[in-house]
Amino acid sequence: SNYVDITPSCLSINDVCDKIASPKAGATSMFVGTTRDNFKGKKVIRLEYEAYHGMALKEMEKICNSIRKKWNVISIAMVHRTGLVPIGEASVIIAVSSAHRADGLQAVQYGIDTLKETVPIWKKEVYDGEEESIWKANCECTQKKM
């Protein structure tokens, strides 16, 4: 099964693992993105995420479907937090259970790479001191010029 969610609440690794647990699974592969306290030497004091909720969920479902076409996986969970995310807390978790580990590990890598490229969610970094806040852009984002 696929479990996708976008929530303003704190993300729990255990809850996400529970969503994908299966006695058939030999492997659980996971990626947790956490907010960092620095960017190119500037001290980040907080991060805010904004999502185009409906479309973001749809794009996350699309990623789950592509994963299932490419690898043999059992369950996929993909959750993203929105709003204020304090330093050190998780902004995104992708977890995949599979019978064999190569499938799961590759699926997770593809999942986070693709999420950063296609899912309409935005991050604003707020810096310490006089520095202006900045809306970031993922280098993975390959939006074609319109």
Partner: protein, 84 residues
């Protein structure tokens, strides 16, 4: 035709609003033409023009996509994404 457009993140801040209506937009229009219509009417958005894309009914559209808009089309301005 009257359409409604959603703005997110930096485009929302530059537009000064989360959504806005546009009048007299042709129903048949390409992605690039629609983006020009929007940017021409929203002060401040034009400087972001080259990095924006559009979604119609929650699907990305290309510059050459031939759109068939209706008054219920959900149109969104998507600045460079930064999730993860």
């Amino acid at each position: 035709m009257k359409i409604r457009v959603l703005f997110f993140a930096k485009s929302r801040e530059l537009a000064g609003q989360q959504q806005r209506e546009f009048n007299d937009v042709p129903a048949k229009i390409t992605g690039a033409e629609l983006l020009s219509v929007i940017c021409d009417q929203v002060p401040g958005l034009s400087k972001l023009r080259d990095s924006l894309v559009l979604a119609v009914n929650q699907e990305y559209v290309d510059k050459d996509t031939q759109l068939h808009l209706t008054e219920t089309s959900e149109i969104a301005v998507i600045p460079p994404i930064s999730g993860g």
